[in-house]
Amino acid sequence: MADKNIDDLKAIRSMMEQSSRFISLSGWSGVFAGIYALIAAGTAYMLFANSGTHYFETTNRTISIDLLNQLFAIGMITLVLALTTGILFSVRKSRKNNLQIWNHVTKKLLINLAVPLAMGGIFCFALFLNGSAVLIAPTTLIFYGLALLNAGKYTFPAITYLGYCQLVLGIIGLFFVGKGLLLWAIGFGVLHIIYGFYMQKKYQ
C-alpha cells in the first residue's frame, strides 16, 4: 500500500511535468549547435581574411556584396544544421523515455520560440535595408535571448538563464559595434556548449 502511494505521487509529478513542459530537449543539441557556430565563426573569419580584411585589426567595416552573401549562406547552413541535430536528439531522447514528441506542449514551445525569432528576422532585415547592418549581430542575440525567455515556461527553466546571457551579450554588442563575429562566437558558440554540458550533467 505504501508503495502504491509513492508510485502515485511519482506519477502525479511526472504527469504534471510532462503535460506542461517539453522535457525531451537534449543537452547534446546545445553542445553540437555550439560547435557548429564556432566552426561557422572560424570560417567567416577566414573569409574576411581572404578578402583582405583582418577582422580584429581593421576599423573599415565596408564589405563586398559577395562576402555578405557568403556570410549569410554560412549563417543559414549553421542554423539548419543546429536545428536538424536538435530535432534528431530530441526524437532520440523522447523514444528512449517513451514520451510523445509532438503534443500540445511542443506546439506551445515552438510558437513561443518562433514569434520573437520571426520578429527579430524582420527587424534585422529592416536594419540591413536602412544601412545599419552593423547592428544585426547584437540584434539577433537580443531577439534570440527574448525567444528563450519566452520558451522557458514550456521546457527546462534553465533555458531562461541562457536567454539572459544572450540578452546581456546582445546589449553589450549594441554599444561596441563591429564585434559581431566575436559576439556570435560567444553567444551561439561558447554559451551553447556550456549550457549543453550543464543540461546533460543535470538531467541525464
Binding site: 502511494n5 502515485d8 509529478r13 504527469m15 504534471m16 503535460s19 506542461s20 500540445h104
Partner: protein, 96 residues
C-alpha cells in the same frame, strides 16, 4: 491524528493522469489527454465521464472547422480535492 481517507475517485492511474495534467494546464482536448496518457479512447472516455459526474472537471464542446472539439478543465472543487489527495499521499508516505 485522525486517519484521512484517500479519495477513491483518484485511485485509478488514468484518473490520476487526467487530474495531474489538468492541474497544470488551462484547457486540454481529448486528443491532448489521449496522447499524454497513452490510453485507448474508451478507457479515457469512461474515466473522464467519472470525473465529470463528480464535478471535478468541466467540459467545453465547440466546433473548429465544423469538427467537434471537446476540451476539459479542472473545476474549483476538483482542484481542491486533488490537492487534498496529494497532501494525504504525502502524509501517508511520511508515516504521519
Amino acid at each position: 491524528m485522525n486517519v484521512q481517507e484517500l479519495n477513491k475517485d483518484f485511485e485509478n492511474r488514468t484518473r490520476l493522469g487526467i487530474m495531474s495534467s489538468l492541474m497544470v494546464n488551462d484547457w486540454l482536448s481529448f486528443k491532448d489527454l489521449k496522447e499524454l496518457l497513452n490510453v485507448t479512447d474508451g478507457n479515457l472516455a469512461s474515466h473522464i465521464k467519472g470525473l465529470e459526474r463528480k464535478e471535478y472537471i468541466e467540459v467545453k464542446k465547440e466546433f473548429i472547422d465544423r469538427k467537434p472539439n471537446t476540451t476539459y478543465r479542472v473545476t474549483q472543487l476538483g482542484r481542491m480535492e486533488f490537492k487534498k489527495h496529494i497532501e494525504i499521499l504525502e502524509k501517508l508516505i511520511k508515516g504521519e
